[in-house]
């Protein structure tokens, strides 16, 4: 009993008990990974709240996070391993014991591994344990591994890693506290959901004397854009030109940070100017491979890495061997000063008035150079020179999928980074800041593995499947140029596909191009629905029959999900996972950590409740399978499982390299080391005692200029983030791209197939370019005058949210939002039903008119539409009848100029070009109103799926009121040692 307040019949208990126990863990209602406190009472979740001590969310919680209870108790949870008995896609399963399911899989995979390990394609979706899954694939011996990055925002990651050694996404962040000018391009929500919101709140709450301007560049004015000081409703796919026009303006006015460029970027490096020659466009290097610059002190070339040189930034010079060279800066400035990048030209494509572009450039320059920030902390640079203070250019930028999800996104993002470099605002106070373990060398040193000699049946691969090629010889291609990976990553079609092309796996496997596979193993990816392009086609491919073999075209499909998603019905074996509150997870610095700009951090998830179903954490299952298959690193010397304690055992005891494991905190027997150090058997306990995370705050002198800050670089080396404490040089000029281009021009031993040469030569430009989205080549834009894009609703996570009784009330049907004037012109009114037609297909949806959207753009919320029968929703749920996906309209393949088929993706990174979609809209007939198209027959429910309750009185129990339907109260766990 708590404390009563009020009188008589109005006396109430203002201090009711709210928990028996509070458990800290990490949220997984999305990939942001906020710290949470789960309040447990009577073995049930009373409530979940944000952890105030956690570096990511500092106590706040988003809508999804607060609705975690309803995902945990979702009636769509899988309850037992399943093996398909009927036709694929029909949802006909029998329940089996784990032993049987694992034995079947071990048999399939065992055979594959002994014959051709590449016939296993292992792709993991919203996976947060890539440090495990990638390693597992490597041990299995297949290069055909990737997570969802390729369909997500690999353009941002690749452009960042090849330019500044860090990236937007969650690998860096704006200096929210200090920035005076913040530009956000193409962000609706981002992975950093809560940090961005916290940051925007801070930024908008500044006192007038330090106020900051927030500009949002986005075709749609909702969410963050709604609170921006200025909204630029750009035409989709044209940001590159907008940014290059800003660069044009800054160069024209000489409002750039030249000293910053000289010190920290490859602007002074000399580039060979030898058109047609084999070294044209490459960096001129000395005999030790060091890049050269032109030293104005000696009027000779000198190592550009030497701290003593006084490099020329413009001019044409001659190398001793007679080749002509020019500094990167010269080439760059010459290119962008060209009138083709003038604001007037940009206006024609972007729809943003030239005047506005000029003003924005002026405002950026004003913030960067007239509002310089100084932090009086002495620091020492990479060359040992002492600086009295950190000087900051308080302009910061954040960009995400509005840039990424276009086929020109890599270059656009490179252009954005170039802009940041020119302003001198990379890792300076008020600018963009790296989050550990970044920055890394440009590009990071890891190469992809999977060349012919690296794949040996029955053996592990010598390195991880994914990496960062820096030239043709590091691609994974056959001598004739064909791709070696099933998704064609690291091939001439997508040389820098550093996250793979998950979106191409099913289509390629179905076509047997480049080769057929035996087993498709998917984890946490709803590939028959919202994460595929051409969804209807994908559903057919998954069930398509091969007459010759009498088997499915993709013979085996193994899938792990926690819920009855659309994908489950297509699996042959279903491995039911736990919910995020029932397992250990690891948020590792080897993967996608939770660091912030001021400190490195990682964390874990711990089981808060015991499963009440026959489910197992997928990571445990993967290690178990590894042991059954005898994979190196997963069996001990006697052939038994090396990690009998499952994933927690692995988290603690696995070492990737000596002293480096999944977690950086409390290493060493006494927990005395961080970063590198011997295994600590009690490490997980330490994490649990520390609210499930570890964070190390950088010293003040390490916090900025990390790319060139000796104290930081030395610490990062100690931690194992980088190999040597060397300066990370920002790459305005991307030499690896020029190497691919040279190959396309006929140089070197490895050259692209003839059909792809022009494409490689065009797109592999070492300086940022802008071009129209590639799909525009296939279609007549006049027939499809509108751009169609999606946005993430803040209160929904992809497809998972729809099973959540609370969240689905917020979004369970979606509309096609159309600009009011455009709609008037098309004679479409609010609530009208319309056909949305692309060159690939047509869907039907209901319209909603609005003002705050670019006139050439229509949009909708992502992944709200559901297939009937999935997620234990009623077959007539609004998600089914009035929800829709744009995915049906987006082809995964597009025809190129030569009639060949190429992925609908960025030609450099293979990033899925979701937002290149062009459509036209036709009003539906009155009798067509009422239901979205397409509709699909519902698959069966899994055996023994409990019916969804028709009324939910969650929480009545805590007030001692009867009549609660859920949950089946799961016991609170005893902590696992």
């Amino acid at each position: 009993m708590g404390t009563m307040s009020g009188k008589g019949k109005y006396a109430i208990d203002t201090s009711p008990k709210v928990h028996d126990e509070v458990k800290h863990t990490t949220c997984y209602m999305c990939a942001c990974r906020c710290g949470i406190k789960v309040h447990l009472q009577d073995g049930r979740i009373r409530y979940i709240e944000g952890n105030r001590d956690h570096p990511v969310n500092k106590g706040v919680l988003c809508a999804k996070g607060a609705a975690g209870i309803m995902n945990h108790y979702s009636p769509a949870r899988l309850t037992k391993p399943l093996i398909r008995v009927g036709e694929r896609g029909k949802g006909e399963f029998r329940e089996v014991e784990w032993e049987e399911a694992l034995a079947v899989i071990a048999r399939w995979l065992g055979e594959v591994r002994q014959s051709d390990p590449r016939k296993l394609a292992f792709f993991t979706g919203r996976d947060q344990s890539q440090a495990l899954t990638g390693w597992w694939a490597q041990q299995f011996g297949t290069p055909n591994y990737a997570a969802h990055g390729g369909l997500c925002a690999v353009n941002m990651a690749a452009a960042g890693f090849y330019t500044i050694g860090g990236s937007f996404w969650e690998f860096g962040e704006p200096d929210w506290e200090r920035t005076r000018y913040f530009m956000m391009l193409g962000v609706a929500e981002d992975h950093h959901s809560n940090p961005i919101k916290i940051g925007l709140g801070k930024l908008k709450g500044r006192p007038p004397e330090r106020d900051a301007k927030f500009v949002s560049v986005n075709p749609v004015k909702t969410g963050y854009s709604a609170i921006a000081d200025e909204w630029l409703g750009i035409r989709p796919g044209t940001d590159g030109l907008f940014v290059l026009a800003l660069i044009h303006e800054l160069l024209r006015a000489d409002k750039i940070d030249l000293p910053f460029l000289v010190r920290y970027s490859n602007a002074p490096w000399l580039i060979v100017q030898d058109p047609g020659g084999a070294t044209d466009g490459l960096v001129a290097r000395d005999d030790q491979g060091r890049p050269l610059c032109w030293d104005t002190a000696t009027n000779k070339t000198a190592s550009a890495l030497s701290p003593e040189v006084k490099p020329a930034m413009v001019g044409q010079f001659k190398l001793p061997d007679g080749r002509r060279v020019a500094p990167v800066f010269h080439l760059m400035a010459a290119r962008y000063l060209d009138p083709q990048y003038a604001p007037e030209e940009a206006e024609k494509q972007t729809g943003i008035p030239a005047e506005t572009i000029r003003r924005i450039a002026s405002e950026m320059a004003h913030a960067a150079f007239d509002q310089e920030i100084v932090i009086e902390t002495p620091w020492v640079d990479w060359a040992g020179r002492r600086h009295d203070r950190f000087v900051g250019r308080p302009v910061s930028i954040l960009a995400m999928r509005g840039i990424a999800a276009h086929s020109n996104g890599f270059h656009t993002c490179r252009a954005i980074h170039l802009l940041q470099i020119l302003l001198g605002s990379i890792d300076t106070p008020g600018g963009f800041r790296y989050c550990a373990p970044y920055p890394k060398p440009v590009p990071p040193r890891q190469r992809p593995t999977g060349r012919t000699h690296e794949i040996v049946p029955g053996h592990a691969m010598p390195g991880p499947p994914l990496g960062f090629p820096s030239g043709p010889e590091q691609l994974l291609v056959e001598p004739d140029g064909r791709a070696r990976r099933i998704d064609k990553a690291f091939s001439w079609e997508a040389p820098l596909a550093i996250h793979g092309l998950m979106h191409m796996v099913i289509a390629n496997a179905w076509r047997g191009d480049p080769y057929p596979i035996d087993t498709l193993f998917l984890y946490m990816a709803n590939m028959s629905w919202n994460s595929s392009m051409n969804t209807s086609g994908t559903m057919q491919m998954l069930t398509d029959w091969d007459g010759a073999t009498g088997n499915y075209k993709i013979p085996h499909i193994i899938y792990s999900d926690a819920y009855y998603s659309e994908m489950v019905a297509y699996a042959d074996v279903v491995l039911p996972d736990t919910t995020y509150l029932e397992r250990h997870d690891c948020i590792s610095l080897l993967d996608r950590p939770i660091s912030d700009a001021d400190g490195a951090a990682d964390g874990i998830r711990q089981p808060v409740l015991k499963p009440d179903r026959d489910v197992r954490p997928f990571q445990d299952v993967l290690l178990d399978l590894g042991a059954r298959l005898g994979l190196p690193g997963m069996v001990d010397e006697f052939g038994g499982p090396k990690y009998p304690g499952g994933y927690p055992d692995y988290i603690v005891n696995h070492e990737r390299r000596p002293g480096i494991g999944l977690l950086a905190g409390w290493r060493g027997i006494l927990g005395e080391h961080q970063g590198k150090g011997p295994v600590n058997p009690r490490q997980i306990e330490k994490y649990k005692q520390n609210q499930c995370f570890w964070r190390h705050e950088l010293a003040d002198n390490q916090k900025f200029y990390k790319h060139a800050n000796r104290a930081y670089l030395e610490w990062a080396t100690q931690m194992g983030f980088i190999d040597r404490p060397e300066q990370v040089v920002l790459n305005i000029y991307c030499e690896p791209l020029q190497r691919f281009r040279l190959a396309a021009e006929g140089h070197g031993p490895l050259q692209p197939p003839v059909a792809l040469r022009q494409r490689v030569a065009t797109y592999c430009d070492p300086l940022p370019i802008w071009y129209r989205p590639t799909v525009d080549e296939e279609i007549a834009p006049t027939s499809f005058p509108l751009h169609a894009i999606t946005q993430r609703p803040m209160a929904m996570y992809h497809s998972w949210g729809s099973q959540n009784a609370w969240l689905r009330q917020i979004h369970n049907a979606n509309r096609l939002f159309i600009n009011r004037r455009t709609a008037q012109w098309l004679n479409i009114g609010d609530d009208d039903w319309v056909w949305v037609i692309s060159h690939h297909g047509r869907i039907k949806a209901q319209a909603r008119l609005m003002d705050g959207v670019n006139r050439n753009t229509v949009w909708t919320w992502n992944a709200v539409g559901k297939r009937a029968g999935a997620w234990n929703l009623a077959p007539d749920a609004p998600e089914v009848k009035r929800g829709f996906l744009l995915n049906h309209l987006i082809p995964e393949l597009i025809a190129d100029r030569n009639g060949g088929l190429l992925p609908n993706a960025d030609p450099i990174t293979g990033q899925a070009a979701w937002y290149d979609l062009r459509v036209r809209i036709e009003k539906a007939l009155p009798e067509e109103a009422g239901e979205t198209v397409p509709q699909f027959d519902p698959p069966n429910a899994p055996p023994n799926q409990a019916p969804a309750p028709s009324i939910l009185r969650y929480g009545a129990h805590f007030r001692g009121r009867p009549g609660e339907d859920i949950p089946p109260a799961g016991p609170v766990t005893e902590p696992r040692s």
Binding site: T222, Q809, I810, H811, N812, A813, R848, M850, P878
Partner: protein, 317 residues
Amino acid sequence: MHPALSVIIFTSVTGAGYGLLGLMCALAAFGILPGNRLFGLAGFVLSFGAIATGLIASTFHLGHPGRAWRALSQWRSSWLSREAVLSILTFGPSLWLAKGWILDGADPAAAPWRWYGLATAALSLLTVISTAMIYASLKPVPRWRHPLVMPAYLLLGLATGGLWLNVLLHGFGLAIDDLAGAVTVALLLAWLVKIAYWYSIDRAPGRYTAEHATGLWSQGSVRQLEAPHVQDNYLLREMGYQIARRHAGRLRRLALLAGLGGPIVLTIAAALLPRWGAFALSVPAAGLAIAGVLVERWLFFAEAKHVVTLFYGAERA
């Protein structure tokens, strides 16, 4: 506002019941009605029956009908509570009067019975007034907070009650010449008030707009882009009811026909006919009037706009 059947029946039938009760008792107190026991019995049964039916119907609107007695407690501030208290208070003098009239054969025009009669009449009027005030006091529903709402309730209650009284009088062959005339006038007056009300609300498109509701005047015209939840919530189910103008127009004519035209013609015709003929016409007159009022009440709800709908995309309220 959502036209809930329970509330419609409640207001129209209890209105008629109290009209009948009040009229009967007042006329009896003044000796205008004969003190006939059987007549008294029929009158009380009919009026109490109507009142009870209405009150019982109203409890269907309640989430906890069993606790309805609690509604008696807040008479100092709540019109609903006042209505409840008054309706119960009315039973005091009226039951006493009924006992005297029916069981004791007392003369209702004689003291002390006439005082009970007058008290009953006054309480009946007040009850109907408080029923009306439940609605007429609600600022968020401008079409209810209208000066003609209370008079309309009162007059319609009296007129429909009067028609039933007429039925009884014809039935007992006790017709009073002027009553039919008076009831006709009341009916006419009631519907005139109602017509004036309709006229008035049609001319006033609604004082409040989404800009009022959100206070976002300075930003320009305000439109809802997205509702908080896709499906209608309680508020919209309860207050978001909308009726097409065309539809309302038709129903108004129907209400007038049933509530006014029919009863007047029948009442006048009845006055010209002998007892059983008159009785035969007066019943449908009263019945039609109730039907008319039911339609009117339905419209009273359906046409009322709650300002909360402004948050949900309504243009005016």
